[in-house]
Symmetry: C2
Amino acid sequence: MFDILHRVGIKASSAKVYQALATPEGVAGWWTAETTGDKKAGGMITFRFTDQGRELGVFDMKILELGTDARVVWQVVSGPAEWVGTTIRFDLKQEDDFTIILFKHEGWKEPVEFMYHCNTKWATFLMSLKSLVETGKGQPSPHDVKISNWH
Amino acid sequence: MFDILHRVGIKASSAKVYQALATPEGVAGWWTAETTGDKKAGGMITFRFTDQGRELGVFDMKILELGTDARVVWQVVSGPAEWVGTTIRFDLKQEDDFTIILFKHEGWKEPVEFMYHCNTKWATFLMSLKSLVETGKGQPSPHDVKISNWH
């Protein structure tokens, strides 16, 4: 198995960072504007990506864990084949005046080119999350940072 | 062993992208302004990172491979313990009107927190490389994108 790992520090309380991870409204501000679903463990959440009306992808995830101000874990139930069965974890901790996010998208079966792409995209989305929490403005899809020709 | 993988697409010829990877002057435009050394396989290249005059790190690498317009491979000879012995590869290919970089920093012994940090930093530096080649202006250290409290 192969994992994607990131570490980002956000100058804000863990409560503010958690809010942006644990609710569909929060995630809509930094990952994809089209995020809908539950806000409790055991519930489902759907992330839709479109570009000028064209659907690029839909991910359904189960909320495995919500640990207030400390942890959010999703499991991918449907979406791109490479993602199904993988889990996505956000672990929060305090350091200096930062909330540190240790991010892990774990359980990729092979290090395929799509994983290279997703790794770079996760970095830009986590920077979007940082910007959302620190400045009030993220860059969620469809206005996300474009890194290549991938579609 | 654990690897860092990224994929970025740059709207430019592979010759232009290669130039920014294969020469100290090129790398100085997107990774660290303090890059010096050789531009031939077998030679050495030194990357120095400072912040307001304070030294943060120095990396000495051997240029293992230079494949014109196609590949650059470095091996870390000295630097942070976790980096020593690892290799850093940039493989280029053409797709649409993009040069695609498949980036691999391979051979980490453990997925330590420093690896999480370096993975996110590589993404921002590769976006700096993209910006350098596409617009003429990168964001190399010491004016690189700050992602956290890490030092």
